[in-house]
């Protein structure tokens, strides 16, 4: 039992944290069970659906196939970390509301985290490029149409492109 647990220290949504974690646990399990960050959803647990996406050192990963112990010393961001200090929504969260990009809401956190990664590149992507960048996520409710709209509009807004 002794060898099975590791103490890991990392930065979670801007705060330094430490956790004793089972070395077999996925990052999804640690975030959900130990930190109660339940925006990290489980849809397949084998990296197929994207519902558990989080950002690690600026890059998106399926946290279900990323071992918890691998985040040692890294910066992890989840949907819970997007809200501003006074409870204000980030532009991409607001866009998901405004564009009716949310239905059952189960894939939403993962999609938003991928969108954050895309938006933070500061690049202007075409609609087709956005389709490719978001293709690692499955959604059964929306047909992706409004999700693409939300990401595209926020991207253009950030880049000062007025339509």
């Amino acid at each position: 039992m002794k060898d099975q647990y590791r103490l890991i220290e990392f930065n979670l949504n801007g705060k330094d944290v430490a956790c004793m974690v089972d070395c077999r646990a996925s990052l999804t399990d640690m975030l959900r069970n130990d930190f109660r960050l339940t925006s990290v959803k489980k849809g397949c647990e084998v990296g197929e659906c994207g519902a558990c996406n989080v950002i690690i050192d600026g890059e998106c990963f399926n946290s279900c196939i990323y071992l918890a112990v691998w985040v040692r010393g890294k910066h992890v961001r989840t949907l819970e970390g997007l809200m501003g200090p006074n409870g204000e929504l980030s532009d991409i969260q607001q866009a998901f509301i405004d564009e009716t990009a949310v239905q059952c809401g189960f894939c939403t956190p993962g999609f938003i985290m991928s969108a954050v990664e895309i938006l933070e590149t500061g690049k202007l992507y075409t609609r087709d490029e956005l389709r490719k960048l978001l293709s690692g996520h499955l959604c059964r409710c929306t047909g992706y149409e409004n999700i693409l709209n939300a990401v595209e509009k926020t991207m253009k807004k950030r880049l000062g492109i007025v339509e």
Partner: protein
């Protein structure tokens, strides 16, 4: 007007912040976990289960086997219960089964402290079987000498129903008729909601409480009571936010097993979280149906005599059973009325995953067959598919004798007009004539028909409770569930409108259903909820309003009948003068020392109407003939679902349905190994769900003919979007290549076979032989 506006969803904020709690988010981490041990044969009897090795795994608490469970067969279908025995759902499964009927059937259940122990122990449970022959095809299963799945159903026929109008045999003798005789087949597909089925159970105050990802909490309460042989009132079901359902969760899944295990362990908290791979196999799937359609047609396209045979693959247990095939068959004589019709639908048990409800409930299958056939008739007679539909589809004024549904408007033409304009249909049709070469384009059309709710086949009602708060806002509760479609938002808009509140945000919809607290309601299915709640919200809102105005009479010295509520104020009806804010009245009513009353209203409305929803889809495809690939380049759905309560949500609903329809058309299929009956692609990598890369822009448009039977003029929209897409794509491929593809999905494997058969390409392997 609050109804008819594209306001944001009431739950959007919680869902974009991760605050919305789904079943697993609510479960305490102390829960013991349950893992189901599944049969590794498609058919047979369990001889013995050896749990000795499995019990040695550290963390394992108990293992239950098929020899431990009560011998109480129970039904699972998410139908309203029928008090008439003849109409009750078939009860044909136990909590765990000794007679296993599909590869993956529930044999035993491991209870352990953690997932690893669950998985390790499940692998170590040794099951010995007496295997029996199995059958995977419904038509084969009906033949003499085939394996029998359920004793009470000879030839595995769960049910056979028919329609006989006129005289098919006589009518077809008319001279000069053209006969079009074809088969169409649809595949087994799965709902693939992103949240897998999950539930957890505990005992509290002498009750078995089950928190479940379900569309139908009140129905599940009843089925758990039935399965466990306990009073229905001792079961409490709580439904939090759910991550999609699409009909899979319109069934009782593992709630009874979870509740039973909880009770065996003295009421301890236990959780069953079905892995994705098991969701494909052990939940529900869409019925695969084989259709045989024979049409005798005059040269102008008039149907003289028609015959339909349907063979619906039920899988191992009854679930929703024959209702699906029956609904599909019911559409046949209605879509294109014909005086002489003979229909037979068979629902047949096979040794495969259990088929149940799935978005469209038999109509996606039926529309694929019927609307493909319509284009086959057009092709045989050299008629234009649009012109043909304009003159032969269900006419204005058509009334169905059974449902009393009526086609009140010239909806089909209006929908087709919109779609034709958006797609520039005629120009494209002209452009795509006489194509040769490897890349060919085509454009195709399909219409659809859909009922709203289940009356008169079954019960339809809705109950609603409204509670006035101190500030003049209200709480709203109904038994009809939010499953992602946006129902709660529609309820808030309707309630605000009926009472006369300032805004829909003054209605606090209690989203979660709790059978101990929520008024009785049937749940999310049959695209019924906005239609049905329209009645109960209107009625209850009027009761609440009457009570408020009676109280207002005491405060305003105006007779109640001279008062109204407008934008959250009590006003004098004659000149709309604002007398007092509703909030002031509410505070007074709560705390008045002379007359204190908590103003609430609750009522049930039984609905004895139904309504047709209509529409169409036009798709443009590009077919790569040598690669046997079809790609949708442009697509539109046009719907008449009556008045839109929330246009933006309606559009979103249509887009999701179109996406599901595209998957149904081109890529989705659950495949079973012929040698073992085992599911072969039960994961999201091998089962091809559409991604962002797999469709073009999805265009959704509406024709808003108000539905006369409903207080808000609205009718079904939830399921219809998925119904016309596959036949439209199929007809576009026919237009592009001249090849009728009659089997879904139209993936490269199927196109290769068909293009080879029609001589478009050559199969080198076949030539060598």
């Amino acid at each position: 007007m609050i109804v008819g506006k594209s306001v944001p969803r009431v739950d959007a904020f919680d869902k974009v912040t991760g605050r919305a709690k789904y079943t697993d988010d609510l479960c305490d981490r102390s829960a013991l976990l349950i893992r189901v041990v599944r049969s590794t044969i498609a058919h047979g009897f369990v001889k013995s289960v050896d749990i000795s090795e499995a019990m040695k795994v550290p963390g394992v608490v108990r293992i239950f086997t098929c020899f431990d469970v009560p011998d109480i067969p129970f039904p699972t279908a998410g139908h309203p219960w029928s008090v008439e025995e003849a109409h009750q759902d078939v009860a044909d499964r136990l909590l765990l089964n000794r007679h296993v009927r599909y590869y993956g059937d529930d044999v035993a259940a491991v209870v352990a402290e953690n997932e690893v122990a669950c998985a390790q122990a499940a692998r170590l449970v040794k099951v010995e079987y007496d295997p029996l022959p199995f059958v995977l095809d419904p038509i084969q299963a009906m033949q003499e000498g085939q394996p029998q799945l359920h004793e009470a159903y000879p030839h595995n026929i769960l049910k056979h129903t028919s329609i006989r109008n006129g005289n098919f045999e006589e009518a077809r003798k008319e001279e000069g008729l053209v006969c079009i005789d074809k088969w169409y087949t649809t595949p087994t597909v799965q709902h693939c909601h992103i949240e897998n089925f999950i539930c957890y159970a505990y005992e509290e105050a002498g009750k078995t409480v089950i928190v479940s990802s379900t569309q139908i909490p009140h129905i599940v309460r009843r089925t758990v009571g039935q399965a466990l042989g306990i009073p229905w009132g001792s079961v409490r079901i709580i439904k939090p936010y759910i991550g999609g359902g699409f009909g899979n969760k319109q069934d009782t899944l593992y709630e009874p097993l979870c509740g039973w295990i909880c009770r065996q362990l003295g009421g301890r908290l236990v959780k069953i979280d079905i892995p994705r791979e098991d969701t494909f196999i052990s939940n529900r799937v869409r019925h695969a149906i084989k259709f045989h359609i024979i049409s005798y047609v005059r040269k102008d396209g008039t149907y003289v005599a028609r015959k339909l045979e349907m063979f619906s693959d039920q899988g191992a247990y009854a679930s929703h059973g024959h209702s699906i095939a029956a609904k599909g068959m019911g559409a046949f004589p209605q879509m294109y009325p014909c005086p002489n019709v003979e229909c037979d639908a068979y629902t047949v048990y096979t040794n495969k995953s259990v088929s149940g409800a799935m978005r469209g409930y038999g109509i996606p299958q039926a529309m694929f067959a019927f609307e493909s056939h319509t284009d086959d008739v057009c092709k045989a007679l050299g008629l234009d598919p649009v012109a043909y539909r304009r003159s032969h589809i269900m006419p204005v004024g058509y009334k169905d004798g059974f449902s009393k549904n009526e086609n009140y408007y010239d909806t089909f033409n209006q929908c087709m007009d919109k779609a034709i304009e958006y797609m520039d249909y005629y120009a494209r049709r002209e452009e795509f004539k006489n194509q040769t070469g490897p890349i060919r384009k085509g454009i195709g059309l399909s219409c659809f028909w859909y009922n709203t709710g289940v009356w008169p086949i079954s019960l339809e009602h809705s109950s609603c409770r409204m509670v006035l708060n101190q500030d003049g806002t209200i709480q709203l509760q109904v038994g009809e569930t939010e499953i992602g479609q946006g129902a709660d938002t529609a309820y808030a808009q309707m309630a605000a409108e009926v009472i006369g509140l300032r805004d829909y945000t003054d209605v606090h919809v209690v989203s979660s259903q709790d059978t101990d607290v929520t008024p009785f309601g049937l749940g999310a299915y049959a695209s019924r909820q906005t239609y049905m709640c329209g009645f109960s919200i209107t009625q209850t809102g009027q009761i609440l309003k009457k009570k408020i105005l009676e109280y207002a009479q005491e405060l305003t010295r105006m007779p109640a009948y001279e008062l109204d509520i407008v934008e959250g104020n009590i006003v004098r009806a004659t000149d709309e003068r604002v007398l007092m804010p509703l909030g002031d009245l509410a505070t007074e009513a709560f705390y008045s020392l002379t007359h204190s009353v908590h103003i609430t209203a609750e009522s049930t409305y039984q609905i004895k109407t139904n309504a047709y929803s209509f529409g169409c889809c036009i798709a443009e495809v590009e077919v790569d003939v040598p690669l046997c690939r079809a790609e949708v380049k442009k697509i539109i759905n046009v719907h008449d679902c009556g008045r839109l309560i929330n246009p933006a949500l309606a559009e979103a609903q249509v887009e999701g349905g179109m996406s599901m329809g595209i998957g149904y058309a081109l890529s989705e299929q659950l495949i079973y190994d012929e040698k073992t009956g085992r599911g072969l692609n039960n994961n999201l990598l091998d089962y091809k769900l559409s991604t962002t890369l797999d469709h073009p822009h999805l265009e959704a448009q509406f024709v808003e003919n108000p539905e006369p039977t409903n207080p808000f003029g609205t009718k079904a929209l939830g399921e219809p979007p998925a119904t016309p897409v596959a036949p439209a794509i199929r007809n576009a491929i026919l237009n592009a290549t001249g090849v009728a593809v009659d089997d879904l999905p139209m993936n490269p494997k199927v196109l290769f076979r068909r293009f080879t058969e029609e001589g478009l390409i050559h199969d080198p392997w076949r030539e060598e032989k």
